[in-house]
């Protein structure tokens, strides 16, 4: 016998013979069977990427809307232990010179109450027709430049710079839009609508406003908010120092929010208030839900992966069992078991690879653009499909690894059987 080959030489030969056998097997396999297996792999891939992508996208959609309609790309707000942003007008000057700035909105905010029918005499134990929430004093044009708030008006119209007697209120406070029944919820009675006179009270100071518009979105800060002109807010709340509570900043496309934040910090804005990107300003519960959904998506994906691995296992096992004699003959004529196993692994790898390639094309060329353009209308967010190239690559790698294992084990089981018994079929 010739001398034994080295490990790498053996591996090279095993791969070459395995590839030779696998290629012919696939070329001459039943096309329908192969298509069915590839289809299963495609579904598995989509299960891996799309299910978790939609689950994460459901929350991501909510976060994106929060950014779009409330926080902007970067938000400056008062420190937790301070009522207002210190030296707000200095901060505004810095913001106005921020590289990449598209628009900004300076906001005054405070808790307040809004009462309808306040002139009516209440009966004994009768609850006032009022609601309490956050009141924001805004420059309507600048606010619209950042959050496009006017696009969220579902009834009436948006504030004009001259609307000193008007208020725009979020839909959460109206029975018509809020069907919740949880204990403690207070909404206006159904007779309150556009044109209603409402008494706004902030810090014990009150003024009457006319309901000009109702806003509806899937962002709590908007739906639960009350909006008046900033000049009105200053008067009512006694903000003669012009110190603000929030400055929402929208950046030009392509500008990195982290870079903008760093620029603001470098200019000393962080000494007067908190500077956060929209991601950092995510309410903790939303962040936790996002993590939870991501885990849930991964768990569902893991189940899908196991199903795919079992599918491949069964396919290869059935293939190997029904080809027991074929394998026996190969061993009988001197083909190394390793090369035969390689041929089965390559076959299963190819099934998975085709499934993953077709799946990737489907996700990135069709599904993602589709869901970006047509978000799924969930009750609390417009869900998108979150699928990144890096995340998808990891999932493809996991799928291929599971496939290699699922192809190896059954091939190995059948290969181990006695050569002669396999050839003679006994």
């Amino acid at each position: 016998m010739p001398k034994k080959q080295g490990i790498f030489e053996k591996l090279k030969i095993d791969l070459r013979v395995g590839f030779f056998l696998a290629k012919r097997e696939l070329q001459r396999a039943n096309k329908w069977t192969t298509s069915l297996i590839v289809f299963v792999m495609l579904l598995t891939f989509l299960n891996l990427v799309v299910v978790s992508g939609i689950l994460v996208g459901l929350i991501q959609g909510s976060l994106d809307q929060n950014k779009k309609f409330s926080s902007g790309d970067v938000i400056v707000s008062s420190f937790l232990n301070r009522d207002k942003i210190d030296n707000s007008q200095e901060v505004i000057k810095i913001v106005e010179n921020l590289p990449g700035l598209r628009a900004y909105s300076a906001r005054y905010t405070a808790g307040g109450s809004l009462q309808a029918g306040y002139r009516d005499v209440l009966l004994k134990d009768e609850k006032p027709n009022s609601v309490a929430g956050q009141v924001s004093g805004i420059d309507p044009i600048k606010e619209d430049g950042v959050t496009n708030l006017s696009s969220l008006i579902v009834e009436g119209s948006y504030l004009e710079p001259t609307d000193t007697e008007s208020i725009v209120v979020g839909s959460f406070w109206f029975r018509k839009y809020n069907k919740n029944e949880f204990p403690g919820l207070t909404t206006f009675s159904e007779d309150v609508g556009l044109g209603s006179r409402l008494l706004l009270t902030i810090n014990g100071q009150s003024k009457e406003y006319t309901l000009k518009g109702i806003l509806k979105s899937k962002v709590n800060e908007v739906d639960g908010g009350m909006f008046i002109l900033d000049s009105e807010f200053r008067k009512l709340a006694g903000r003669s120092d012009y110190n603000l509570n929030q400055i929402a900043i929208a950046l030009l496309p392509g500008t990195d929010a982290k870079v903008a934040k760093s620029a603001l910090v470098a200019s000393g804005v962080d000494e007067n208030g908190r500077v956060q990107t929209s991601e950092e300003a995510i309410p903790q519960f939303l962040d936790q839900i996002k993590t939870t959904f991501s885990l849930l998506g991964n768990a569902i994906s893991a189940i899908g992966l196991v199903v795919a691995a079992i599918t491949i296992f069964i396919v290869i096992f059935v293939n190997a069992i029904t080809r027991r004699r074929y394998i026996g003959i190969l061993k009988g004529i001197g083909i190394a078991p390793r090369a035969i196993v390689v041929s089965y692994i390559l076959q299963s790898l190819l099934y998975a690879l085709i499934g993953a390639i077709v799946g990737s094309i489907l996700v990135f060329a069709f599904l993602k653009p589709f869901f970006d353009a047509n978000p799924i209308n969930f009750p609390f967010s417009d869900g998108i499909l979150v699928a990144t190239v890096s995340g998808t690559s990891v999932r493809v790698a996991i799928l291929l690894l599971a496939t290699v294992i699922a192809g190896y084990i059954p091939a190995r089981i059948v290969i181990k059987q006695n050569t002669l018994s396999a050839i003679l079929g006994r």
Binding site: R16, R28, G332, I333, A336, N418
Partner: protein
């Protein structure tokens, strides 16, 4: 070339022992054409499987080129089958998803030949069995005789030291059988050692030597006159 000492293959069926090959010893020199004959159930195929390293004997030793093949690991026996032995099965045992050419190429690729060299060598082997014109056909597109010739081409393609043939003409008509046997004779004339199992006296008569088995034992071992 081959030497076997006290070779036995015992199968157990419940408490009973069946001695398919029972304490057989002989040697075959290089270039000899040996026919192993006997009635059905005499143990001739079982003996051939042991000689061809497709099965392990219960007792005894098989030396191939002075190497004790019975002591080799499964992997080393596979290597020996690849490099030193050629096997022709009664039912051809060619791989259905490979063409005639590819069937012959596989062992050569496993030996480490490049695909182009393996192809050239395979075509030469197929030409020797007069099957070059059907080399791109799948087994299902070949007749029984043609399939058996593919099997022969595969067995000789890698220049083995010994060819084992297990009733190679059992499934063939007489005319095709003659073609196959002619191929064997020609190979043997070129110095190829051949061990053929057959129960047909007219075919065993073509061999140099005839070993007859009965109940697993050698009952005669004679040179053909």
């Amino acid at each position: 070339m081959i030497k076997i000492n006290n070779l036995s293959k015992i199968f157990k069926s419940g408490d009973a022992e069946i001695r398919a090959v029972d304490d057989v010893s002989f040697s075959i020199p290089e270039g000899q054409f040996v026919a192993i004959t006997g009635r059905s159930g005499s143990g001739k195929s079982t003996l051939l499987y042991q000689l061809g390293l497709l099965d392990r004997p219960t007792h005894g030793e098989i030396f191939i080129d002075n190497l004790n093949a019975t002591e080799l690991s499964d992997n080393d026996q596979t290597r020996m089958r690849l490099h030193a032995l050629g096997y022709i099965f009664q039912d051809y045992a060619i791989l259905p998803s490979l063409t005639a050419l590819e069937n012959v190429m596989v062992p050569l690729l496993m030996q480490g030949l490049e695909e182009r060299d393996a192809k050239e060598k395979s075509i030469r082997a197929l030409t020797r069995v007069d099957l070059a014109d059907r080399m791109n056909n799948l087994p299902s597109q070949l007749s029984g005789g043609q399939q058996q010739r593919v099997s022969i081409a595969r067995a000789i393609g890698h220049d083995p030291k010994i060819i084992f043939a297990d009733e190679p003409t059992a499934n063939l008509d007489s005319e095709t059988s003659k073609t196959v046997l002619d191929a064997f004779l020609e190979l043997n004339r070129e110095g190829q050692t051949i061990v053929m199992v057959t129960h047909e006296p007219e075919y065993s008569a073509l061999a140099h030597r005839i070993i007859e088995l009965r109940d697993g034992k050698v009952v005669s071992d004679e040179m053909n006159k």
